[in-house]
Point group: C2
């Protein structure tokens, strides 16, 4: 925090030089620009913090490829609103981080800092790995299904997906506008809260974080609990037991929300097919089989089916409000288990589809581990627009979990 700008740039460059050859978290960064940017950075509430920008987010200084060869040489004219906010608050943007293709499923080159044979999760792969390895303080990330929560869980870091709409999406490539949500991955809740006070913009808010317990927690194993691995079962039960020592924790049954996963898939597929119309019409040969399949799934959905799914999703959002009359916060699984091996892809989004559909704020907390000793996160959720309270509760909850395991990083 007290580093001189030039020292900060040198330190960031050294960290990246050390870990990047093995982790491959960045699509582009430039030590010369980094130093210039550090010298030019204004004073502000994020002074001394470094940021990595997921490569579906426009930047005027670096190319923005959206994880696709179609945009390999794409140089936007301007920074996205979120990047401009962070820079104006004194943060140092050190480069662009790897995303899966259009924030969907085709992985980039990034590996998991805790085990380089495993996935960092997707789609915010590079931001999560870079934070876990200490290369950056704040990773800009986004979620349409599970693209922030899952990599945070796999990489053993904090992932904050705020309420839908809290951070402006201007300059962020969209996949499914009903769900697309910008958020952050960070090393701890305090850093997420500092970034939040700036990113909710347009004017930085006064930083505030009051670590305090929620009054009552609901333990929501979700209808997909049987699909989780023992690592996740154990992590969620362990977290619940730790919280229960301080506040009431009751089981919450959301069995009748099981349709949410299919609703989410219907809406996401349809909207992705709309959003990627040009790419499918004019650059189809440059799309992966995964994205092509997503688009073609969307194209096969009748318009009426899509609109009906939107209506049902809206009703679920209204219905879930009553749940938060009884519980301040929920805890739930963040991912099915530990990070999968690279050859198995970026993992299943099943434990986030419901919450993304409901547009609720969620913070993934690290500290617990699975059967192989790898990180397993748990989600803490709150009511829509309850982000300020959720950050406070997460700062409290974070302290009840074990110290997060540091990745055993070699010398690259």
């Amino acid at each position: 925090m007290s580093e001189r700008p030039a020292d900060m740039a040198v330190a960031a460059t050294a960290r990246i030089a050390r870990h990047e050859p093995r982790l491959r978290a960045f699509t582009s960064y430039d030590p010369v620009r980094l130093r210039q940017d550090a010298e030019a950075a204004p004073a502000g509430p994020l002074g001394g913090l470094s940021v990595g920008v997921k490569d579906i987010i426009d930047t005027g200084d670096y190319p923005t490829a959206h994880g696709s060869p179609i945009y390999a040489a794409n140089h936007p004219r301007n920074d996205a609103a979120c990047v401009a906010l962070l820079k104006a608050a004194g943060a140092l943007c050190v480069g662009k981080t790897v995303t899966t293709e259009f924030a969907f499923f085709r992985p980039g080159p990034t590996v998991n800092p805790h085990d380089v044979s495993r996935s960092p999760g997707g789609s915010s792969s590079g931001s999560a790995a870079a934070v876990a390895a200490g290369m950056i303080d704040i990773g800009l990330a986004s979620q349409t299904a599970a693209s922030l929560t899952r990599p945070a869980s796999y990489c053993g870091i904090v992932g904050f997906k705020p309420s839908y709409g809290r951070y402006a999406l201007a300059g962020v490539k969209g996949l499914a506008p009903s769900f697309d949500t910008l958020g952050t991955v960070t090393g701890d809740v305090a850093t997420a809260a500092r970034a939040d006070a700036v990113l909710r913009g347009p004017v930085p808010a006064s930083p505030r974080l009051d670590a305090r317990p929620p009054g009552r927690i609901g333990l929501c194993r979700t209808p997909w609990w049987p699909e989780a691995e023992p690592s996740t079962w154990k992590a969620v039960e362990d977290a619940a037991a730790r919280f229960r020592a301080a506040v009431p924790v009751d089981d919450v049954d959301l069995a009748d929300y099981g349709a949410a996963a299919d609703l989410h898939i219907t809406i996401m597929s349809y909207e992705a097919a709309q959003a990627l119309t040009w790419e499918y019409a004019c650059r189809r040969d440059m799309l992966s089989p995964q994205v092509t399949q997503l688009i073609e799934t969307g194209r096969a959905i009748p318009y009426e089916t899509y609109r009906d799914a939107l209506r049902q999703a809206s009703l679920l959002r209204q219905r879930v409000q009553a749940l938060f009359d009884r519980y301040d916060a929920l805890i739930a699984p963040a991912a099915p288990g530990e990070a999968p091996l690279l050859e198995h892809g970026t993992g299943s989004p099943i434990f986030s589809r419901l919450w993304t559909l409901l547009r609720l704020p969620t913070i993934t907390l690290p500290g617990l581990t699975g059967v192989n000793g790898l990180p397993v996160g748990v989600q803490l959720l709150s009511r829509f627009d309850g982000d300020d309270d959720l950050l406070d509760w997460a700062a409290w909850a974070e302290k009840l979990l074990p110290l997060r395991p540091a990745p055993a990083l070699g010398e690259g």
Copy 2:
């Protein structure tokens, strides 16, 4: 429709050459490219129709300046989803049309085809003027406050702002995401319906339009009726009388929705300040006083005030649903009166703020005139997501109104 592509390009070029020097509806078009595009256009449901693209919408062939000198030389890599859909359906994109700066209030050079001393309305100024002058069949337009309805009213054409979210916004510069809605201006309802079947994408729907009356119409003068001019009072009462000869038309009192206008201003200002963060932070000297004022208004609004306005807007959207148990459609003023003189700007958005806030579909219908013989439109509205019915009812209503006045266009 049966024109050969080359003939169509020649005819479009001739129409533009004739009227454009006086009307100044286009920011860019290229007769050579037009001919090439016509030869290459695929067969499809929009074959033979020409399109103008509002210049906040990305196009790979033409620059996209958003009505701002900041983006004067901005050349996107790709077409927006809406443009790709229209092209794939066989439509011929003839160029980019004038928008006010960032679709807000600073006018471009376009004049009203019915009286060149008057405004075409904004922000979809060029698309509306070009349709009114017969230079294009379909104008892509958008609305965040009244940017589609008002120019349609002033230019004496059909303006269709569908339900929020019906047309994908991928590749469209956003101003206030809670309201930004893509739509069309056209010469008649049938053309709007043909475009709709394509634009609601990703796959063109079967064209269908069944001109039929709604069961019951509500006449909604709105809480802002006293702010309208006699031209608008007369047009709305005249339209109501014509419809009443065929179906029941009852007065509807929405006096208790009066707060909607301020809610709309709060949300739009806050979100515009977020969306234009980079422009304000890094190119402030290139912003107009109007946009600067909008951003600074937004920056002065506390976050909690903004989120509270969002909650109130959501409640109004739920409440208005019951109105459509009693009325299939509403008719309402489209603008305060005839087009204002150029020096008075693009006119007041007051008669659209409520409907934009409520996210309802609306069609502005031409045919009536004001005290100076200039066009005055009326809005026909329906329930959220009732777009298909609304198009059918508008096709019926259109026939009950006088033939629209053709602009008395000289030879440029």
